[in-house]
């Protein structure tokens, strides 16, 4: 406080102390998971032996029969991810573009619809999904991929936001009118003008969809389907090391997905800046 301060921010030292304390506390459970996964044998008199045996066990093909349920669950989850991304791209995206270009008055309505899944938690929706999926099972059978119908609803808020943010920064109406007045058809306008401009938002929205679907537990658990998360809970009862190892891997995957989203965003902004300068 010696020098006159014109800024409201804390001193560097204060801020460093706060941030380091937070970092330590938040890294602790992750470090604990790693420590747990490398344990070998019981702790005797405060001495714990460590070794990579649990990690080796997970990646040992000889054990694959033990983890068959988990591997199946991961497979099911990946299929559900794919189908949910398709739902976002085929159902949500066209409506967002259409509303932006032709029905701007409906923008608020669409936004409202996309927020509803936050107000109605998954555990509440599940009460309604039980009878709805009774009908779904009659049509498609009780198979894991049908979870994608529910997952598509759960991800609406997350999938909507990046695309909407991208749209807010691009003059879609002007661009599509320019394209139309230069003689392009709707198809060409859509694929050569609109979609390339929304690429960043669409990609981010797909990645967040994957992240949310991989973490989804509630609906799969109540509809008694084997997905990544429900399989993790099951295997945790028999071999908690395996479930912790997969939790670490999933967390790592989450960070990678986010890094990719970040890079996609960065590439986009750099390009925008460049075009703005040349314009």
């Amino acid at each position: 406080m010696s020098a006159p301060r014109f800024a409201a921010e804390p001193s560097r030292a204060t801020s460093s102390i706060i941030l380091i304390a937070a970092a330590v506390l938040f890294l602790l459970p992750i470090v604990a998971m790693l420590e747990f996964s490398f344990r070998q044998g019981q702790r005797v008199d405060g001495v714990q032996n460590y070794g990579p045996q649990h990690w080796q066990g997970v990646f040992d093909p000889a054990n694959s029969f033990k983890y068959q349920g988990l591997l199946e669950g991961i497979g099911n989850s990946l299929l559900i991810c794919l189908l949910t991304v398709v739902i976002v791209l085929v159902l949500l995206l066209p409506v967002m573009i259409l509303v932006e270009l032709r029905f701007p008055k409906l923008r608020r309505v669409l936004e409202f619809i996309c927020i509803i899944p936050i107000t109605i938690p998954a555990i509440v929706l599940v009460v309604g999904y039980v009878p709805v999926y009774g009908v779904v099972a009659q049509i498609f059978g009780s198979v894991p991929w049908t979870i994608a119908f529910a997952a598509g609803i759960i991800v609406l808020p997350y999938a909507y936001r990046p695309i909407a943010a991208n749209m807010a920064g691009v003059e879609l109406t002007v661009l599509s009118e320019a394209s139309r007045s230069l003689g392009a058809g709707w198809g060409r306008t859509l694929f050569s003008v609109i979609l390339p401009n929304l690429r960043r938002g669409i990609l981010a929205s797909c990645f967040i969809t994957i992240a949310v679907v991989l973490g989804e537990y509630t609906i799969a658990a109540f509809l008694a389907q084997n997905t990544f998360q429900t399989a993790l809970v099951l295997i945790n009862h028999t071999d908690s090391y395996v479930s912790v190892i997969f939790a670490v891997l999933a967390l790592l995957f989450g960070f990678v997905l986010l890094l990719v989203i970040g890079r996609v965003g960065a590439v986009g902004t750099r390009r925008e800046r460049r075009t703005r300068r040349t314009a």
Binding site: L19, I118, A164
Partner: protein, 314 residues
């Protein structure tokens, strides 16, 4: 939950004037373009939501009744409702204060520096890191054989609060233990939702305060505090709602009931007849009412927040 914060921000104003001729000519078919999404939302959002909320009003034969609401007099259910409320309130307040402190500390870092971007990315991942995997992380940390629990035992504290909490064994397998676990996603959510508001404070306000002879304390009490208050309260509400509606973490840690989502699980899984459990419907309705109240309050606060941020950020 993070998506909401940015969605309810003031909507972007209409841009461009639509091509009125094409619009008129194509209006019919264009409406059809909205249909698939509409049908999907109707079948998988509207129908389940309505079924969930109205099933509380039906008896086993599907006739209208208020009888299920007698469940709300059940001491177990009431206790669960109360636990849901206090856990959400406590994690919202602690998470909100710690999260705001982290945001405040970030102000001293460069806006596009490495620290800021690491905290940003970590917050987005950790705010999503709910569910089952979070439960495993905490079992490995402060569970019966967790890292910290083992260390405490090594140091001679055999019966510590982590493994014999409140006379009921391991802390995180009990309802109050959820507070510690929930903070792990509540604090990052606070950082994500509150940081934009804090960054919206204009440097010129601090300069004006300093020029007029104000201290830093005065700045925070008279300028920063009041301007940030709606955003802070809004974030608290969001955190409350986030905790109130989360299920998977609690489900993986606590095998019995104890909070409303777990009570719904008990109702749905104990039901022998396939179909809708009516008491679960009552609980679902209660949850939706609470969430709607929270979200309405949040939207109102968000509008107030927007008032100070319309002039752009400096």
């Amino acid at each position: 939950m993070t998506a909401l914060a940015e969605q309810t921000a003031p909507a972007v104003t209409d841009r461009g004037v639509g091509g009125s001729t094409t619009r008129l000519r194509r209006r019919g078919p264009a409406w059809l373009g909205l249909a698939p999404f509409g049908v999907y939302v109707l079948l998988f959002l509207a129908v389940p939501a309505i079924l969930a909320v109205t099933s509380g009003f039906a008896d086993n034969e599907g006739r209208f009744t208020f009888a299920n609401f007698a469940a709300l007099a059940d001491p177990n259910i009431l206790q669960g409702l109360w636990a849901s409320i206090w856990i959400s309130a406590v994690t919202a307040i602690i998470g909100g204060v710690i999260g705001a402190l982290i945001c405040y500390a970030l102000l001293a870092m460069k806006p596009d520096g490495a620290v800021r971007s690491i905290v940003d990315s970590a917050s987005s991942v950790l705010a999503q890191f709910g569910g089952v995997m979070l439960a495993f992380a905490f079992i490995a940390t402060i569970g019966a054989n967790g890292l910290i629990t083992s260390l405490l035992k090594d140091w001679g504290w055999i019966e510590n609060p982590l493994n014999s909490f409140n006379g009921g064994g391991v802390m995180i397998y009990q309802i109050p233990g959820l507070v510690v676990v929930y903070l792990y996603f509540q604090i990052p959510l606070m950082v994500l939702t509150f940081l934009p508001a804090l960054q919206g404070l204009k440097g010129t306000w601090a300069e004006a305060n300093a020029t007029l002879g104000g201290t830093r304390l005065q700045y925070w009490l008279r300028i920063g505090g009041p301007v940030l208050l709606p955003a802070f309260l809004g974030s608290l509400i969001l955190l409350f709602a986030n905790s109130f509606s989360s299920y998977a973490t609690a489900a993986a840690l606590v095998s019995q009931g104890g909070i409303v989502p777990l009570a719904i699980r008990q109702q749905l899984t104990s039901e022998t007849v396939l179909g809708v459990s009516n008491v679960a419907g009552v609980l679902a309705l209660v949850m939706v009412i609470v969430m709607v109240v929270l979200m309405t309050a949040y939207a109102a606060l968000q509008r107030r927040t927007g008032r100070w941020q319309n002039g752009g950020r400096s």
